[in-house]
Amino acid sequence: MYRYDDLDQAFVDERVAEFRDQTRRFLAGQLSEDEFKAVRLRNGLYIQRHAPMLRIAIPYGLLSSRQLRKLGEVARRYDRSFGHFTTRTNLQLNWPNLADVPDILEQLATVQMHAIQTSGNCIRNVTADHMAGVAKDEVDDPRPYCEIIRQWSTHHPEFTYLPRKFKFAVTGSPEDRAASEVHDIGLHLKRDEQGNLGFQVLVGGGLGRQPIIGQVIREFLPVPDLLSYCEAILRVYNRYGRRDNIHKARIKVLVKSLGIDRFREQVDTEWQASRATAPRLEAAEVDRVRSHFVPPAYEELQNFDAAAGREPEFQAWYRYNTREHKVSGYRAVFVSLKAHGEAPGDMTSDQMEAVADLADRVSFGMIRVTHSQNLLLADVRQIDLYAAWQELKQLHLATPNIGTLTDMIVCPGLDFCSLANAGTINVAKQIQARFDDLDYLYDLGDIEIKMSGCMNACGHHHVGHIGILGVDKHGEEWYQITLGGSVNGFSALGEVIGPSVPQKDVAATIERIVEVYRTQREDGERFVEMVHRVGIKPFKERAYASHSEAA
């Protein structure tokens, strides 16, 4: 993984000192709410429903065991001994004291971490495929480019006061596991006919009130042009993105209003004019960063069937919570943060420390955070799987439900977020309780539920196979359900099935919907495929059919 050099370390240290001074000025009444807001957001600090919330950056989801241990320690010392992992692979602390935040940031800086640009109208934490470096189908490892983008976008002189937030995702495989099509800029590593590396560049994707799938602005951008081209996009956006209406300020609105072709022309014109003064990505710098991402020292091992002859519980875990690895004898192991009865994505300090220890023993001391709010130990020897499972089970981190309906993506909702309409965590628990039968879950197969507590769509509900959105109806929590959303390479936005349902009926409605699938699917057909084949009508008919039946 990337190790800071003197420049990186000096920067985060100087940033902590700056924020300490800003916090002091705010507490002394020398900095207005408004001004402090602008600087605290750019350091990851929100003022939430109950307390401040600190969003700590985990660049492209990669953590060393030392860093995860530090997160556990910080959560225990400054918070209530747990944290929440988000879809942008960051960690949120929900109860820190404002006056402690500079100390927390100073602690984080000792392990090369920070909370810079995890919120505010600037370039946010860049995300990548959680299978980066271990996926069989990979063109190249996206993480070095993510790290380069992290550095280039940090404290950017020109693009730190954008019209709105700006998110990058980079993938290196044909299968898009990073939801790159719903990012402001999505970069797909590819090779041209001569074998040179470059990127297909997508622009203008995003969720929120106006969900839009990103469009291709450039089929092939050579690696050395990455930063200069991104600067051209950002400059056009910084100048012409709307600033009069916060709901129309994302780049997707600009791209849509101009049309992709005119937007592309503007970017190209800007790029031609500014290339000479924009940062060039030298091969030596790419090599320097890449050298931090060399594969770990894998042993020469044979594949074997680790599940053979083991108890069914382990077999289920093996099937659902581990994934194929490009190196024989290894598998990637999910640490499920979707235990039934727990808030999805939450992890206690004890669990963080224990997983850090486990990673030291079985996965080269590295941990990844996934877009779906789980952790991943990417490089586990197959012969270690059984012991790893036993440990994870002890820790309540082995619920064998990855990729099933209860592996839900859920935003924090009313419990923490001041914008929320709805208590998403309660609804998630309701669904977990109703779908507690694992065999039933396995029979349903791959169904992604994504839930947001308001239009801001932090839970990506538009692209869930089943999307659930909390809405406010005369002060009560209701839920709108969409079907057919997807982000894996053939992105689609879900369609609303009809009127929203009251909180107490959400789980039952979901059950009726999946029953339609279970009884009418064709052989081997996934839920989302059936929705695309038959449309929402049969689901809609059942979903609302049975208030009387149920009574």
Partner: protein
Amino acid sequence: MRRILKRHEVVADEWRHLGEDATDADALIVPLADLRKEPAVWQARSGRLGLRIAPAESVESLADLLPHVALVAVEFPNVGDGRGFSYGRLLRDRLQFKGELRAVGQGVKQDKIFLLARCGFESFELPPEENADEALKALRRYDVVYQPAEPIEGIRRQRFFA
């Protein structure tokens, strides 16, 4: 007399804005719209001429005026509007403006000074509630940067180059 921050110093401002007390010999900053209306009148003054642009105005359109002005003031109307950062870079890099580039408006806060300087601004008209000495310190807050941009005093390391 207004005190401004200019090239790492707090100094008395030599410039007046249109509407402030000024003699014909005083250096005067005129909004772009006024300058466009009667360019000859303004250029006929004996004092130096500066122009002021608002975020919604196009910097490219200044090309013909730049040879006649000694100062361009770019407006930062509030904390969040960052269009002026791009204007700074465009004026320096593309339009090759070598005169004084000044940041003005309610949005010119000490916490932005470092980035503004990196975008080519060399003087800062701070709102009255801002402390100029603290702002001066903020100019030296960082001694490392990642991006190529305006080189400013005190930077010892940079990552990417043009």
